[in-house]
Symmetry: C2
Subunit: 217 residues, 2 copies
Amino acid sequence: MRYELYYWPGIQGRGEFVRLALEDAGAPYRDVCRRSNRAPESPQAFAPPFLKAGKLVIPQTANILLYLGPRLGLAPGNEAQRLRLHGLQLTIADWLSEVHDTHHPIAASFYYEEQKAEARRRAGVFLAERLPKFMAYFERAVDERFSYVHLSLFQMIEGLQYAFPNAMRKMKFPKLRKLHERVARRPRLAAYLSSKRRIPFNQHGIFRRYPELDERS
Amino acid sequence: MRYELYYWPGIQGRGEFVRLALEDAGAPYRDVCRRSNRAPESPQAFAPPFLKAGKLVIPQTANILLYLGPRLGLAPGNEAQRLRLHGLQLTIADWLSEVHDTHHPIAASFYYEEQKAEARRRAGVFLAERLPKFMAYFERAVDERFSYVHLSLFQMIEGLQYAFPNAMRKMKFPKLRKLHERVARRPRLAAYLSSKRRIPFNQHGIFRRYPELDERS
């Protein structure tokens, strides 16, 4: 099966969570809008990313990973385990939305500069209350056994260290740090991360580096 | 199987989407924290609601409905259909989070009064851009065949009409309006809605009526 991933060109964004799974598994896929100016649209999806797999059109990142997990060897087949991983992945989705809203608390359709004051307030609460709560949860909840959730947690830590280097330097998360290092060393993933297929973090994506939103060093 | 639903007492909130499914199906369940002051906590859940089903602890509303759907006769058994419904449900979850953020755009831990100015800005964009986009998507995407997604859409419309009566009065959504009426007439659901088990909408839940956030009449 050759999968087709539809996502915005030019940013990692939510699509990256799907890319990491496909790349780590060495699955054949086409990153459809990567070099085009077409908007990734389908009447079946409210928003990108969505995945085409044969006749299926699957919207929503966590839903795509629910589908791909067992097929790519990145999740066990039994229902209890799949529900457990999916619950973790949905919590990562919530976490990611909160990261987005640190720089866009009023509207995704406004520029950052139009909501800078609100962003400062929201980012402050995010770093003080929410980030430690999410990190503590995943320190406790993450499994030993490798799955697509590990790839997504790798991406969260990678992105958070890009966006909030000072805040992240002060936080203690030994298990997640080890997980991040272990995932980065996986051969296919390491090859992907150092390839041109990996879009660099930038100021258009979900993780953005605005020093005024980070803690002081 | 007797299910146990864990959610905050005193509000409909996210737990209500699970209650509607259990009630419509006539499934035996216990609303565990309903009359207690205990916080609904489990190391396996980042936040409520979560469902206990035998040995399983299932967090995240959409994940719970993914599990319950086929068991309660509220979703077909085949994978393609289940993924499709789950994609819709996850989009409802995103929509609901945006409703929440109309009155709490900075932090859930602050009072509304501490973020009133930001709430006005965010609610304005929500009503002008986001609400019409979500409504148009579901007008187009909703299936004829009844499922748990219909119950959730009923709840969205019910809640939005409570929170934003003026904005909703101006919107055209004939299919969703018909769906809302049809769902409200389902015998077990109608009995639930007029019972004391249905917590009334109030100013502590996700849907809140702050006239200053609605459009003018």
